[in-house]
């Protein structure tokens, strides 16, 4: 599915889920926001479209990357940390599917969703069972709390393995970028230092005034030290700029009865 379709689906599903009244008039959507969400959206009615021409014609909000309503929906949905339950008829086993949002950031960026399912009886990674249906949690159901932490750790280890290739590639690329920057910016300082070094030799070979040569040497060495210090500062700045962060955020969970 392309991104425009994904955005449209998320937007409309969101409004349906919160029980908003939606009227679609040839791609022009009039949405009556339920009371509970009016404060969040700061209004009771929203007129939106996913079509540029309709937006132009009706002067309404076009839902595309950058639109405010889309941002509000994403912010709302991504801040919930929801847990839902799915089941097969006559289920005897329990598993937890952990959803991680992996965020690799540095000068470049990569993010991806990973989902890992762990059977909490035998603490094994399993395939996500087919044909599951959403249910309300049975009243007599109890999740053994002692098994939550170990199953989470198994999921994390699996996540690390699943993402290790991606991680190595990201680190390699970050290192290449860092080295390129380093070469580019540091060579200027090395050239300057070399030139100053050479100028001392030149001064020594062209002047007979020992005092002047001595003074020149001191001054130039001071200058070189200054450049060396600046160079080392720059390396630190570059290291900070290129520093790589890996965040493995747990963003949602499913309890699976199968």
């Amino acid at each position: 599915m392309n991104i425009s379709n994904q955005i449209q689906e998320l937007t409309l599903s969101f409004f349906k889920t919160i029980d908003a009244e939606i009227i679609n008039n040839n791609g022009l959507y009039d949405i009556a926001i339920p009371n509970k969400y009016q404060n969040y959206f700061q209004k009771s009615k929203i007129r939106i479209t996913f079509n540029e021409k309709v937006a132009e014609e009706h002067n309404c909000e076009l839902i595309i990357p950058g639109s405010k309503t889309l941002f509000q929906i994403i912010t709302n949905c991504s801040n919930k940390g929801p847990i839902s339950v799915k089941s097969l008829p006559g289920a005897i086993n329990t598993a937890i599917q952990y959803h991680f949002y992996v965020n690799f950031s540095g000068v470049k960026h990569h993010s991806q969703l990973f989902s890992i399912t762990v059977d909490i009886q035998n603490m094994r990674i399993i395939e996500y069972p087919a044909n599951l249906e959403s249910i309300d949690l049975p009243l007599d159901f109890k999740l053994d709390s002692k098994k939550i932490t170990p199953s989470f750790e198994i999921a994390l280890n699996e996540l690390k393995q699943n993402s290790s290739e991606l991680k190595s590639t990201f680190i390699n690329n970050a290192n290449i970028d860092f080295e390129t920057d380093l070469k580019l910016f540091i060579s200027r300082y090395d050239d300057e230092i070399r030139e100053l070094d050479n100028s001392i030799t030149k001064k020594e070979s062209t002047s007979n005034d020992f005092e002047k040569i001595k003074q020149y040497r001191f001054d130039t060495i001071d200058e070189i030290e200054k450049i060396e210090k600046e160079k080392s500062n720059l390396v630190t700045i570059l290291q900070n700029k290129h520093q790589v962060n890996f965040d493995y955020n747990l963003v949602a969970c499913e309890i699976i009865l199968y």
């Binding site: 950058g66 941002f71 847990i83 839902s84 993010s111 969703l113 999740l143 290192n175 790589v244």
Partner: protein
């Protein structure tokens, strides 16, 4: 070659999912799907380039840097087009906002856009939008096409004009797709008209621009965020109790630092000069202040005119007209002649006195200022940008420099946009010297030149900074020499000394000046200076009066520096809000 030595790995469970599992707390399954879809879209958006990325890359009218594109990208894709853009000074916040405007117009996210800025920056905005992004905004202040606020899709207004009840009401009746507030720290106090104006505007997206969004305490940060996302931080008391520490409300409670980082990273972008040092060279300003001994004739002429003005001032004559005479008398011999002519026409001097003083002025071969500048230009073949407030002085300098064989080009407010464009081109490629009037200097960029001459002084610190800002900005590769001129004993000499020695104006930025002089109107400032000069009985008294004015501003400046620095150390520097990389 070195490799990166630090890689940070975190496994956050910021929604407390493990704890929810223990309590078997479940949600509507629909929400799980929506959450996962949201993260899928977020993954896409984080890597999504601006739709105008290619046209920005090939835009020859402006140099755009990585942090500017990334900031605009984050504002659009991750912050929903509503944010506080708090880059440190000199990193091009205006350009970042212009990129957002262009992107929003191109993609259809916005059609009606309002920019609110201090009056002194409106021309600069207008020019940057037009010359660099081909966007024609109507400047409400001085555009003859302006009808009313609802008639224009792209409108520029000053904070002050927009806050007038009538204008404010009219602005609130329009729905704005995007509102941009420059120097937004002036909205920090929620009780002010300005804050209320922005709060009550009907708008979809809001961008607040300020290098110094907080000067006193966390409440200012809260007030700014309230403008962006009302209710997002709860009530002030809830916010204060959770995040603030200490009576002065300047420190963050460490327990909730990560939580606040998370919140601020969705609202604020702040890139620092340190982060961009690898690709932007920041140069220094080197002021050369020349308070010259006037020639005997110059002194006599100036004193003769000033005596007349002083007498009229004591008789409560129109002070605006008197200030004009005084400024003319201080600029050059040719403007002194102009002052005499105006005084004769207004019958404040008789024809005999006029003739006497005119023949005196005519006997001055060269101004002392001109002779001194000539020495610098003769020694240095690089380009010089000479500023004056008056056409007569502009012509005087041009005529005399040309007679000495220098290539000179003029730039002023009378010229058409095409003529201005041609003049800038000529200065860049051919002429060594440009002579510009104050009006002509606004909005133009002359980074290829690193010598500025203030032949006379605008009695407005913001204008002085704007002159320097034409040259000392991103893209300047040399330290900038600022030659300031005044004749000893003139009002300009006292102002220059005040601005230079007391408040070190030439090392300050527009944002800082805005803070120091935010309570003084332009007219008020000029009238204060003029009054002190006119009412003093002798030189010592003038000196004392100006010195006392300077002390007040100096204290104000130090206080502002101290609180801003302290706050930045305590708050902003604790967080990573940069556009260049993202930490959570």
């Amino acid at each position: 070659m070195d490799a990166l030595d630090e890689i940070k790995i975190r496994y956050p469970d910021k929604f407390g999912i493990n704890a929810k599992l223990r309590q078997t707390q479940t949600h509507n399954p629909e929400f799980l799907n929506l959450t996962l879809q949201s993260y899928q879209i977020l993954s896409f958006l984080k890597n999504e380039k601006l739709s105008i990325a290619e046209s920005l890359r090939t835009n020859k009218n402006v140099s755009i840097f990585a942090h500017q594109i990334l900031a605009a990208q984050r504002i659009k894709n991750e912050l929903g087009g509503t944010a506080l853009l708090a880059d440190e000074v000199g990193l091009g916040k205006t350009i970042e906002a212009c990129i957002i405007i262009k992107e929003f117009l191109t993609t259809g996210i916005a059609k009606k856009i309002l920019i609110l800025a201090p009056p002194s920056l409106l021309s600069q905005w207008k020019d940057e939008l037009a010359s660099k992004f081909d966007l024609d905004f109507i400047n409400q202040q001085n555009d003859s096409r302006f009808i009313d606020v609802s008639s224009h899709d792209l409108l520029l207004m000053s904070h002050a004009s927009a806050s007038y009840p009538e204008k404010s009401k009219a602005l609130q009746e329009v729905f704005w797709d995007l509102v941009i507030v420059d120097e937004a720290h002036s909205m920090k106090n929620s009780a002010t008209h300005k804050h209320q104006l922005v709060k009550n505007l009907s708008k979809r997206h809001l961008l607040l621009l300020s290098a110094t969004p907080i000067q006193n305490n966390l409440e200012e940060l809260y007030n700014m965020i309230e403008l962006l996302h009302p209710g997002y931080l709860g009530t002030w008391n809830q916010f204060k109790d959770k995040y603030a520490l200490g009576k002065n409300l300047r420190s963050i409670n460490p327990t909730f630092k990560n939580k606040l980082q998370d919140i601020l990273s969705k609202l604020i972008i702040r890139t620092t000069r340190k982060e961009v040092r690898t690709y932007i060279k920041f140069t220094d300003r080197i002021p050369h202040t020349n308070i010259l001994e006037p020639s005997e004739k110059e002194l006599l002429l100036y004193n003769a005119i000033t005596d007349v003005i002083r007498d009229l001032y004591s008789e409560n004559y129109n002070s605006l007209a008197l200030m004009t005479y005084q400024r003319l008398a201080s600029s050059s011999t040719d403007t002194s002649k102009r002052a005499l002519y105006k005084m004769k026409m207004n019958k404040v001097i008789g024809p005999e006195k006029y003739e006497e003083l005119l023949s005196f002025a005519n006997s001055i071969p060269y101004d002392s200022k001109f002779t001194n500048i000539l020495k610098h230009i003769e020694k240095d073949s690089s380009k010089f940008l000479i500023f004056t407030e008056f056409y007569a002085t502009q012509d005087y300098i041009a005529k005399n420099l040309e007679s000495k064989g220098f290539s000179v080009i003029l730039f002023n407010g009378k010229m058409s946009p095409d003529e201005k464009y041609e003049a800038v081109r000529q200065f860049k490629n051919k002429s060594q010297i440009m002579i510009s009037t104050g009006a002509g200097g606004e909005g133009q960029n002359f980074q290829f030149c690193h010598n500025i001459v203030n032949y006379d002084l605008p009695w407005n610190p913001m204008k002085v900074e704007q002159r320097i800002g034409r040259v000392h900005r991103i893209g300047q590769t040399d330290d900038v020499n600022i030659y300031n001129y005044a004749l000893k004993g003139t009002i300009e000499a006292y102002i220059l000394e005040l601005l230079f020695t007391k408040i070190e104006l030439f090392n300050m930025t527009l944002g800082e000046l805005d803070l120091i002089f935010e309570d003084s109107t332009n007219q008020g400032l000029q009238e204060t200076w003029f009054k002190e000069y006119m009412t003093a009985k002798n030189d010592i008294e003038i000196k004392n009066k100006f010195s006392s004015l300077g002390e007040n501003w100096k204290k104000n400046k130090e206080k502002i520096h101290e609180t801003v620095d302290e706050f930045n150390d305590d708050v902003f520097n604790n967080f990573d809000l940069s556009a260049l990389k993202e930490k959570k």
